[in-house]
């Protein structure tokens, strides 16, 4: 499947939700998605464009812009195109709709993003810490203004 056609189809179907769509190479494309529509766009990608494989969900902290980003890497078992979808969220109240109902394996990725960045995924079936201990909840260690690294992060080992 041609990467340009994918981008055309995506921007044609969601003219308001998709912005800054660009083709990086023959097998990579990226776009920003409106945070309210992220789940809907994922559903469309899965149903209509063969993007049936979620590579990962991760967070990025852009502290200078005062924004957090949720980044979805969506790929396919049939064609080699990987689409990078990004949703920008305000840093003081980051909330986005969960995509677990579309991609089953988003479950752990969203739990991890939640505990490391404090991004709240609405309608997630089981949003609780995965790799961190419960008492570190609320410290959001992968945010850029986290002060505990590397001196206090090992406190649970002592």
């Amino acid at each position: 499947m041609d990467v340009r056609k994918i981008i055309e189809s995506l921007t044609g179907t969601f003219p308001e939700a998709i912005s800054e769509a660009m083709v990086e190479s023959e097998i990579r494309a990226r776009a920003y998605v409106d945070k309210e529509k992220a789940r809907e766009v994922c559903q469309y990608l899965k149903d209509s464009l063969q993007f049936d494989h979620l590579c990962s969900v991760c967070g990025v902290d852009y502290i200078k812009r005062n924004e957090l980003e949720v980044v979805y890497h969506i790929a396919s078992y049939d064609h080699p195109v990987v689409l990078t979808l990004k949703a920008a969220l305000p840093r003081d109240n980051p909330e986005i709709e969960s995509v677990v109902s579309v991609y089953w394996n988003a479950n752990w990725y969203e739990r991890e993003t939640y505990e490391l960045f404090g991004i709240l995924f609405k309608n997630h079936p089981n949003l609780k810490p995965l790799v961190l201990p419960d008492d570190m909840l609320g410290e959001w260690p992968l945010r850029k203004d986290y002060k505990g690294f590397p001196n206090t992060t090992a406190k649970n080992l002592v």
């Binding site: 494989h53 990962s56 990025v60």
Partner: protein, 374 residues
């Protein structure tokens, strides 16, 4: 697991330390008699915070850190990290360096699969299997050791090339070792096909169908055992895999037996790839010419940008998402390991089976908890 238990139901915790596990994670099983009614996994016992550490190390130091994501496939982790950085820098290694990388990564694949098969045998009570495979694995590790100088963590790849050339006499030592391994793999194959107890423990156990496997998001031998020919080396060729002749090994049964069979066949394909590489490897420099990148690259800055690079790990699809802000440290690095989604798919797979099969199914996934936790 908080819900109230019915009479004659119970919860047992497997782990975090348990002989059937490839690393520390806790598996909470809700049982009625011997049947598994519910399962839940708790992770985080060896969470190392590698993504945070990498944000605070320079790119060159990062090569050493990514080795530790999974100690079994250190060279593949390096390939992914170095490949990301090379794409941002806009450089490409010369042909000889690419061939050396393929040789080492295929050796890594062989030793990882050998350990995976051996551990699986151990989990289902076939302890001699571990002895058989670890003996062959040692020979492969010696080959890797000959080139990189280390058995487990190598720090061998550099941006734009590799640290050292192949030592003199490498080919002469590699060919007999690979020929010996071929015979051993044939022996294992025959053993698996004729051993009645082994077949009863594995055939039809933990069956995944292609549709379910895709919806669970797994990759690697677990997915290929269901008949889906998904291999990053073919789908999205990197290094010199385009020029090499190999096939993607698939099985159709999707059970534990098929998963081990896929690994055995992949060892054979890797040997075939290695033979081609050793024949075809060209002479030439190890680093791209007319660039400042070499064996002793000093502290360097990487142009701002972002890239998502995928390679084929022995366990499936390994990806890294690297964002650079133009400084000498990565702004963000997300590691997308292959075992993380596979481990996530374990609970739905073991519900409805018996406790004895939990070890077989979990073992046939060939896990590395170190990489799931990162």
């Amino acid at each position: 697991m908080e819900e109230k238990l019915e009479p004659n139901e119970m919860i047992i915790h497997l782990g975090p330390q348990h002989p059937m596990q490839p690393g520390p994670f806790r598996l909470n099983l809700r049982l009625r008699g011997e049947t598994v009614l519910g399962a839940e996994i708790e992770l985080g016992f060896i969470h190392k915070g590698i993504e945070k550490i990498l944000e605070n190390k320079t790119y060159l130091q990062g090569i050493t850190i990514v080795d530790r994501i999974c100690y079994l496939v250190a060279l593949v982790n390096e390939e992914c990290f170095v490949g990301c950085t090379e794409k941002l820098l806009g450089i490409e290694p010369p042909a000889r360096a690419k061939y050396i990388r393929v040789i080492l990564e295929e050796l890594t694949r062989i030793q990882s699969h050998l350990l995976g098969i051996g551990e699986f045998g151990e989990f289902i009570g076939f302890v001699s299997m571990f002895m058989y495979t670890i003996r062959e694995r040692e020979e492969i590790l010696s080959l890797i050791d000959m080139v990189t100088g280390a058995r487990v963590t190598h720090s061998y790849l550099k941006f734009g090339g590799v640290r050292d050339d192949l030592p003199a006499g490498f080919k002469e030592k590699a060919i007999p070792t690979l020929n010996k391994l071929k015979k051993a793999v044939d022996d294992f194959d025959q053993m698996f096909h004729t051993d009645r107890i082994y077949r009863e423990r594995t055939v039809g156990v933990g069956v995944l169908t292609a549709d379910v496997a895709k919806s669970l998001g797994v990759s690697g031998p677990v997915l290929r055992a269901t008949g889906v020919p998904f291999d990053i080396r073919k789908n999205e060729p990197y290094l010199v895999y385009e020029d090499l002749d190999f096939k993607v090994c698939t099985e159709t049964a999707g059970d534990c037996f098929a998963r081990v069979q896929v690994r055995l066949n992949e060892i054979r394909e890797s040997i075939y790839i290695l033979e081609q590489c050793l024949d075809q490897i060209p002479n030439g420099p190890l680093f791209p010419e007319n660039t400042p990148y070499g064996r002793r690259t000093p502290v360097m800055r990487v142009p701002a940008g972002e890239v998502f690079h995928r390679v084929e790990d022995p366990r499936g699809e390994m990806g890294m998402y690297m964002i650079s802000d133009g400084s000498d440290k990565p702004y963000r690095l997300k590691v997308r390991g292959p075992y993380y989604p596979t481990l996530q798919a374990l609970p739905p797979l073991i519900i409805g089976t018996t406790v004895a099969d939990v070890a077989a199914i979990s073992g046939s996934m060939d896990g590395c908890t170190s990489e799931a936790d990162r």
